[in-house]
Symmetry: C2
Subunit: 236 residues, 2 copies
């Protein structure tokens, strides 16, 4: 612990022992039990929860034999299409593959998992419930694996959040030389989601992770703050 305490490092702890989650399951209790097994919460903790378990607990599962049809229905607009690959804007405004409709990790063959209707509200509900149980409210991020333009592979990003500001604004700060920094906004919520993915993995049954020691920018931001406004979107 001394190296961590001396050096201000982070810890990223997987939440283990969470059983398979289904519609109506009490996700708050399941995650709370796993947190209790880690010794509870500390000030500045960020809990990152995979979208899939949030969606399943909220019953966002649909039986369908028309996967493409569900994607097109969930999409506000289709940005690109090539074969089965559809890059679409979701109702929330996120741009991602298949409008977030997921056929892997669905509970049964012939079903798909949809994004939560309001992922910020999902995060806020978990934050509020954990606050009641532990007497301390963690920042909460709901994360999903998104592809990117120009780069191979997915990284996890924040699609819902509560109890933090997702962007660290460096406007007005200066580097060592006093030059005003050009890249002024850091998407710390996305970096936190990606960091958590490193311990959550994809198929290992770890649906959440705790980031300890970061102490995120305080505030009541929304994952929608991470969406590029249409008038500044150079890749519509």
């Amino acid at each position: 612990m001394s190296i961590l305490a001396d050096h201000g490092g982070l810890r990223i702890l997987p939440l283990l022992g969470v059983p398979e989650v289904g519609p109506g399951d009490d996700l708050l209790r399941l995650l709370g039990d796993a947190l209790a097994a880690l010794g509870g919460l500390e000030s500045g903790d960020v809990l990152v929860v995979a979208q899939k378990v949030v969606s399943k607990a909220e019953g966002r599962i649909e039986r369908t034999d028309d996967y493409q049809g569900v994607i097109l229905r969930e999409a506000r607009s289709v940005r690109r299409q090539r074969g089965e690959l559809v890059i679409a804007e979701t109702a929330h405004g996120f741009v991602c593959a298949s409008a977030g409709v997921d056929r892997s990790n669905a509970p049964e063959e012939g079903t798909v998992v949809l994004l939560p209707v309001d992922p910020d509200a999902s995060a806020r509900s978990l934050r509020d419930g954990l606050s009641v149980r532990f007497g301390l409210a963690p920042a909460v991020i709901v994360s999903d694996s998104f592809g990117r333009a120009w780069r191979q592979g997915t990284t996890d990003v924040a699609i819902g959040l509560a109890g933090l500001e997702p962007l660290l604004d460096l406007r007005g700060t200066s580097d060592r030389r006093g030059y005003r920094l050009q890249s002024t906004l850091v998407a710390v919520a996305d970096e936190l989601a990606g960091a958590a993915e490193l311990v959550m993995g994809k198929a290992r049954g770890v649906p959440a992770a705790l980031v300890r020691g970061f102490d995120p920018p305080a505030g009541e931001g929304s994952a929608r703050d991470l969406i590029m406004p249409a008038e500044r979107d150079l890749f519509p």
Copy 2:
């Protein structure tokens, strides 16, 4: 330590005490000294080093009164332009703002910092030198802050690397239900770079961080593996 050992968590440790780096400085020695102060290396460690200090040590600094001209010279192609904002493909194939030419954090007014000529080689050189000093070779990532399409804010990504595979290939693995996973490639090198940024910050003078406990996919990959091939790039 018991929670970490029991739960397989990660630690992300900032490298502190590294002085301002300039052309010709022995970055290997400076980072090695900071690592020694952390107690040296452990098996599976990933060292993430900010591009800016790599570029400065390699003398990739240019005096100019024509910032836009340097950007256009460094760019293989310009993807979008709006006012002073130029989204360009670098000679390496990365798509980012200003073709990676950075006027903040430059050593003096009127100078700019360019990307390393071969960031993989920069990473490999650090890896090899640290291996000689510590008897253990860490994976090394050279990171930079890139903006993204559709999302606000930058996240740090890998622009050079040595001693790991940047993409974790889940093709052929199955989720709990036996369904073949759709999103099959995870860009773990980018997630590692983003995680490191959380402790490195932008203006705090911490040019590197150590990620301990992840044990990245072994291999001799390249950051170029992270570049979307032109024939699959839907946002040219």
